[in-house]
């Protein structure tokens, strides 16, 4: 049985990381030059790790499935990145960021990891600015901050609504610099399909060149999986079309435990599904909830236009249920409340699966303020509206434009229609303090691992974690492993283990191609997504999860009987790529349901209907569930659970309330 050792260093919280860094064994520069590291992924985590390790002297091979490393899905992050800089002099500190993150994660993360994350956060901003990342600035030339996700301090750094893009392009430029210097070899349009394990250690990967279709064998003294999140198991999510679990899943099948698979974040404000053709969902920044009021009609199936529904026939359900926080309740609470109304038959729009986010009230309020500022006496309603719209435009202009592009509706005149959507996965490969999985030499960074965010991630903290892992954690922790490995020469890729792994990957491709059934990969993906969304989404219960498990098994069986992939393997074949990913999602989906079934408490993004307070709020059960669920793969549909007990020395768990 695999024993879980989190390897959190001894000693006081504040000195654990410093002490660790100053006592780990080092690899001398000449040895580094003969050591190779494989990195799967070129998002914030992968690109930052690749450039940092190459700068140290390691030989790096980096892989991504897009045509360029710059297109990893980190590019799409909008809002910002947290760092405990305290530039605003408003009382922020490493400790406060640590505290907020542990609490925000609903007490299901490790104190030691989170403290380190908060500690290195400030260095990230320094590094990015030095690279030329154009963060927003004040008139004095200094960096600007905003508050995000309900924290009480302003610690979020941002670049308009394109923070992820700018951070990734910074990391990408560092990566490309090393490519130019010959220390990183980049393999774009490559997909990792197998991990190679020799004598119990990760020693390489099998990757498919997506253009020629050929399988390749690559050796590495260590392998880093930075392959992103698996939200696309739900089919519809805010993730990119290609985001997948394949890399992590192959590792899982080779012995890496999977941590807290059921912890999923569902973001409350996304543009709703408009029809069966829908291929992905688009986020509307959470900041809109500052000025938008959320409501549905009080009457079921009310087909009037929203503007024609009088005030007293509207149900501002968040304000009604949570008078203290109103429209600003946390993401998980807002999402569940929207679902509750729609399920009860009060949803709006053609699909009836949406609620209104209405700016009319605050438009008029801003209009009055403006009228006063400009000394306009007795303004008409029309005048007030116009003045108010100018203010709204200045604050949210680009979001309103994006909304109009997608829906064809003008949100200045009509309330937006929004609905929650899958956004982020807190679960992932189990890693210890050094970011190593349970397979020696196999690491996982960024959204692909399970660390740091517990059961719920706070806004602006995923970018921080990805870059912390890549720039400031792995360059140290990998040394502790590689220093013991300096006598290992590069293993030739005709070693039996490489041949076996390649054969495995080949057989799987053959198997997929040879089904020759009648239905596309998307067909099965949509079916799986629906089961996941209905039964393992915003609210979960024992009956639904049990049903989901058997339904997923049935879809999986049908998939392996009736899938159709046109074309051949030995060429660029987008259907084959999709099918491989869906096949892995079909296994992961079941594990997520198993995990959700076992965790009988509600916590963070995981809401078990059986575990609520009398007024319908999430109820945690620390006595029985204060642990990380780490699953060991045994066979298709069979797992063994390992528990890592969570110990809170500093922050004491309490129940959250927003009434």
């Amino acid at each position: 049985m695999t024993k879980l050792d989190s390897k959190i260093p001894e000693g006081p919280l504040e000195t654990k990381w410093t002490h660790y860094k100053s006592t780990i064994p080092l690899v001398n520069p000449s040895n580094k030059r003969s050591m190779e590291v494989i990195i799967v992924g070129s998002g914030l985590a992968g690109a930052s790790a690749a450039s940092s390790l190459a700068e140290l002297g390691y030989q790096v091979k980096c892989f991504c499935f897009q045509d360029s490393p710059r297109r990893a899905h980190s590019i799409a992050a909008q809002g910002g990145i947290n760092a405990a800089k305290n530039y605003q002099n408003d009382g922020d500190s490493t400790f406060r960021l640590f505290y907020d993150t542990v609490k925000g994660g609903d007490y299901r993360s490790r104190e030691g990891n989170v403290y380190r994350l908060a500690e290195v956060s400030a260095n990230i901003i320094d590094q990015c600015v030095a690279q030329g990342v154009p963060f927003a600035r004040e008139y004095g030339g200094y960096l600007s901050n905003r508050s995000f996700g309900g924290t009480q301090v302003q610690r979020t750094f941002y670049a308009a609504g394109q923070t992820g893009q700018q951070l990734l392009l910074g990391a990408y430029s560092g990566l490309e610099r090393q490519v130019g210097l010959g220390t990183v070899k980049m393999y774009s349009r490559h997909e990792m399909l197998e991990i190679v394990v020799i004598d119990g250690k990760a020693r390489g990967i099998i990757a498919r060149d997506l253009i020629s279709g050929k399988l390749e064998r690559h050796f590495g003294h260590a392998v880093l999986l930075c392959s992103g999140g698996y939200g696309n198991v739900f089919y519809l999510s805010t993730n990119a079309m290609g985001s997948n679990v394949t890399a992590a899943w192959k590792a899982h099948r080779r012995g890496a435990l999977f941590g807290n698979p059921c912890f999923t974040q569902i973001h409350p404000t996304c543009i709703p599904v408009s029809g069966d053709h829908q291929s992905k969902l688009t986020l509307m920044s959470e900041s809109l909830r500052n000025d938008g009021r959320i409501w549905v009609p009080k009457k079921k199936d009310d087909s009037r236009k929203p503007v024609d529904i009088p005030e007293e026939e509207r149900d501002y359900y968040l304000e009604r249920r949570y008078p203290a926080f109103g429209n600003l309740v946390p993401r998980d609470v807002a999402s569940r409340a929207a679902k509750e109304r729609c399920d009860a038959g009060y949803g709006v729009g053609t699909s009836k699966m949406a609620v209104y986010l209405d700016f009319a009230f605050n438009t008029l309020r801003y209009g009055k303020v403006e009228a006063n500022k400009r000394s306009i006496h007795n303004p008409s309603q029309e005048e007030l509206k116009k003045l108010g719209q100018e203010v709204i435009k200045e604050k949210y202009g680009n979001l309103f434009e994006m909304y109009e592009k997608i829906t064809g509706e003008n949100p200045y005149e009509m309330p937006m229609r929004i609905y929650p959507a899958v956004h982020y996965t807190m679960g992932g490969l189990w890693v210890d303090y050094e970011l190593m999985t349970t397979v020696p030499g196999l690491y996982s960074l960024g959204e692909a691992n399970f660390s740091d965010h517990g059961a719920n991630r706070l806004g602006a903290s995923a970018l921080m974690q990805g870059l912390a892992d890549g720039y400031f954690v792995i360059p140290y922790t990998i040394g502790s492993y590689l220093s013991k490995d300096i006598s290992t020469k590069a293993i030739p890729t005709d070693h039996a283990a490489f041949m076996d792994a390649e054969k495995n990957a080949q057989e799987r491709l053959d198997k997929l191609m040879n089904i020759k059934g009648t239905k596309s990969a998307d067909h099965f993906h949509k079916k799986l997504g629906k089961v996941m969304w209905d039964k393992c989404g915003m609210a979960r219960n024992e009956k639904g999860l049990t049903e989901a498990i058997s339904e997923i098994r049935a879809i999986r069986e049908e998939f392996w009987k009736d899938l159709r992939i046109p074309g051949t393997q030995n060429e660029l074949n987008t259907e084959l790529e999709k099918a491989g990913r869906v096949a892995d999602f079909l296994e992961l989906g079941e594990l997520m349901c198993q995990d959700a079934l076992l965790r009988k408490e509600s916590c963070g993004g995981h809401f078990r209907e059986e575990s609520q307070t009398p007024d319908g709020e999430a109820k945690r059960d620390d006595d029985n569930f204060s642990y990380v669920a780490a699953w060991e793969f045994k066979d298709a549909g069979k797992w063994e659970l390992h528990k890592e007990e969570l110990i809170f020395d500093i922050v004491h768990p309490t129940q959250r309330s927003y009434k």
Binding site: Q66, R71, H73, A159
Partner: protein, 246 residues
């Protein structure tokens, strides 16, 4: 709506390609252009034919992966919009739509509508960075940047590397793309140190990749989904001149 599509099909880089006509029915105006392609591809798979290969990933207009030449325009008829953010309400029932890949010597076709844009990565790796190793940096606020410069740098940095500027240009010039990066870094004090070597190396690489010369037609700016300004080209020309005079 019902549409006639004429789409470029090309098996691989070596074989010749041609336009093939397809019909799609009951397209909703709420669909994105790529979702319309999903419908067509689902039909093709159903018939056992190979679906049309096209590049896409984020479908939010930010990754720069989508790249279709639609009715003679890079990313289609809508201003400041990527292919993935183009919606079918921009078209009418009965329309015929011609879809081709980016055409440029430096962007060879890989398959159907997919082209090889790795030349852009090589241009960046020749100098589109600031040489700072992880851990070198000092406190971020030690480098104040005038807001105007920061805003201009940000506007240039908004480029998504899609290549529409090259596809739109009759000379297949990459000036808009390259100048956006040169400008961003030259405008910032952090980037000023390497400004000469940067512009010289990047322009050299750009030429080696086979991109054409700029003859100031401004087709690039007109088709750029991020509305990157041709002022960046002027700025790069000044940077280039300055570096050569040194």
């Amino acid at each position: 709506m019902n549409l006639t599509l004429k789409i470029w099909r090309q098996k691989n880089a070596k074989e010749a390609g041609n336009l093939v006509t397809y019909q799609v029915k009951d397209i909703s105006e709420d669909m994105s252009f790529l979702e319309m392609f999903d419908v067509l591809n689902e039909q093709l798979v159903h018939k056992g034919e190979e679906p049309i290969a096209f590049d896409h990933d984020c479908r939010e207009g930010i990754c720069g992966m989508c790249s279709m030449f639609i009715n003679g325009r890079a990313h289609g008829p809508a201003q400041g919009t990527t292919t993935c953010q183009l919606h079918m309400r921009k078209f009418k029932d009965g329309d015929t739509i011609v879809v081709e890949p980016w055409r440029a010597r430096a962007f060879p076709v890989v398959k159907d509508l997919i082209v090889d844009r790795s030349a852009f990565d090589r241009v960046i790796s020749s100098g589109g960075f600031i040489s700072v190793n992880t851990g070198n940096a000092k406190d971020a606020n030690n480098i104040p940047v005038p807001k105007q410069d920061a805003d201009n740098a940000f506007a240039a940095a908004a480029c998504i590397g899609c290549g529409a500027c090259v596809a739109a240009c009759k000379n297949s010039s990459a000036m808009l793309f390259v100048s956006a990066k040169v400008s961003q870094l030259a405008l910032l004090p952090q980037g000023a140190i390497e400004r000469e070597s940067r512009v010289l190396n990047m322009v050299k690489q750009m030429d080696e990749e086979g991109f054409g010369n700029c003859t100031n037609t401004y087709a690039c700016e007109a088709e750029c989904p991020k509305e990157i300004s041709v002022e960046n080209i002027a700025r790069m020309n000044r940077e280039y001149l300055r570096a050569n005079l040194k």
